[in-house]
Amino acid sequence: MNPMWIDTLFFYFFALLVLGGGVATITCKSAVHSAISLIVSMVGVAGLFLLQHAEFLFAVQIVLYIGGVMVLFLFVIMLVNLDESMQMRQFNRQWLLAVAAVIAAGVQAVWLLSKPADLPAAVPQVPGGPGNVQRVADVLFSQYLLPFEIASVLLLAAVIGSVVMAKKRL
Amino acid sequence: MDGHLLSWVLFTPLIGMAVLLLIPAERKNLIRLWANIAALAGFLVSLPLVFRFDKDASGFQFVEKADWIPALGVKYMIGIDGISLLLVMLTTVIGCIAILSSWNAIQDRVKEYYAMFLLQQTGIIGVFVSLDFFLFFVFWEVVLVPMYFIIGVWGGPRKLYAAIKFFIYTLAGGALMLLGILTLYFEHFKQFGYYTFEISELMKLNLSPVMEQWVFWAFFIGFAIKVPMFPFHTWLPDAHVEAPTAGSVVLASVLLKMGTYGFIRFSLPLLPKASVNAAIVQVLVALSLIGIIYGALVSLMQQDWKKLVAYSSVSHLGFCTLGIFALNPNGLAGSVIQQINHGISTGMLFLVVGIAYERRHTRDFKEFGGLGHVMPVYAIVAAIAMLSSAGLPLLNGFIGEFTILQGAFEANRAWAAIAVTGIIFGAAYLLWMYQRTMLGQITNPKNLRLPDLSFRELATFLPLIAWAIWIGVYPQPHFAVLEKPVAQIVERVRPDYFQKPVQQAEAPRAAEVAR
């Protein structure tokens, strides 16, 4: 079997997952269905990561995003009684307008991108270098040490914030 | 104090205001007394200007110059020439009178009222003495806020509408004017390599005619709204009618002069090419003439005493702008004199209206008639005011209008002819006004027991009457201080003017005839 061929096949498969999941996310009436569609979409994205040899990101996507965030979403959906919100109108009045505008912009973007992008030539990778996880770690903790530290503060703020917001009595 | 005389003149009212703010608001009489003292002090401080002014010196006198915002090239630079001298003196005199006249009229929020008035005094004087365009603009805008409050808080029934209309009109004009100023400022940088707002520096600019015209129109909007010239006058009747008496007096006597002063001080000397442009002159003269006739005609139709006086301002200020754009010494000198005259006579007329209003709380002509029988002193004072406004010889109005007409005649006979009809209409509505209020029998029983002028009220008129007669009988000192600056401006705008010997001889003759 031609590996190129498999790559292509997988790409289209995952792209289908991503886009199909995405469309289902925004069209489903029920929030639970939306959440499940979103998981599908994210699995597709994770697959794309794998195709691109971003193994660490693949793991992060599965564990953190799909495992963490989506559980959080589902948890809140269950916690907040959505029965009554199901009865409400689910779409904005101007939804047609919005869809038209965004699709127009999207088509334009796709058309703009349809020519092969002439990106600067890449530095070829030295074969037999360190693995993906190690390389990510190297860059993260040397070049991007500062944003990493800022992100820790950011997460602290997020933790405090969600506790402040969600707790009944402080 | 000697070197900073003009600064003292400028800031005395502000110091007065600062002290006033320390007085507790309950002690109304003390506040009134202090405000009068401060205003009088403002006048007394300005008196030395008259005595020390050297009418033969050219250029500005009492000049003070200091850096204010070096980063922008802004200087604190003040000084006066003959034109500003007259207007500054008018401001300090009218300020005193306006403050004195409001002793009884204002009972509510006395402290704020006088504080606003004194703040405004500083602003107005600042406009007339600034020699730095930035400083000028700051004072120009500073005047707005106190006037907004004077109309908006102590005014008549439609005060809020009138106040905000006045404010927005003037501010819009001011903002456009600022763009014009900045254009000059930037052009100066391009041509000379440094930033300055100094007027004498900006005069050295050499602009393309097109740019001059654009800047001219930007200035025009700012000044014409303030004057107000014909299509921009609609704020004026509202503001005048709704303002309290003292507010109307200051508004008419001094504030409107900021516009005409702007034309004389800035538009003409800074933009000479645009100012002699035939099309621009024609437009401005046409608007002035329309203003003269329109103001007079509308005055004729008024049932409201104050509105009549208000519209008469439109007509009189038309004369002033006509004189300016006649662009010759007679026109300009006449215009300045007429500005002073309008300040004196219209100030008096508003005081007259205010006194009647204070007693009867109405300004409808139908309510009055025959006041001369119960209030003889009042009727005499009103007669003087009316006649001075109508331009009777031996009183001030005649001198100004006559000199302007001379200037207009020299420039174009048709202009003078049209303006003369304005004078005739003017005499008509003023006499009619007098007849409807002072003469005849008392038709309304409420008018039977009106008290005549109190000493304080009379005191508000006396300086103005004295000044009116002074100008009417012996205008020479006034023309003398104007001669140099006016000649300078004409020289600047029309460099060829004085090279024609015939007209050169005419300039002094005008003053002679006027005498």
Binding site: L19, G22, Q61, F73, V76, V110, K115, D138 | -
Partner: protein
């Protein structure tokens, strides 16, 4: 079949961005709007990984880690606020969440 290039990934991510934007704009359900925002951030990540692959470096992957971190934080705070809102709603008995009127 053509080989898959970076361009393919760019187009895919642009499409996902558009889907996410549509979702935020047309839905009235707050949770689904939050999910649509997650879609947008996933589109960003697809982009980043594709470029990272093109340059044979890992900067794009590091960037993606930060994007995921931020997405998680936003989702957590957003859901917290949502809970606070619904708690009040239960007590004040408002019929409908007014905020989605714009």
């Amino acid at each position: 079949m053509h080989p898959i290039t970076t361009t393919h990934y760019l187009i895919l991510s642009a499409a996902l961005l558009a889907i996410g934007a549509v979702g935020v704009l047309i839905r009235r359900n707050i949770i689904i709007m939050l999910m649509s925002i997650e879609l947008i951030l996933n589109a960003v990540n697809i982009n980043l990984i594709a470029f990272s692959r093109h340059y044979q470096d890992v900067i794009g992957q590091v960037f993606a880690i930060f994007v995921i971190t931020v997405a998680v934080a936003e989702a957590a705070v957003g859901l917290g606020i949502l809970i606070a809102l619904f708690r009040n709603k239960a007590t004040v008995q408002a019929d409908e969440v007014e905020i989605l009127k714009w």
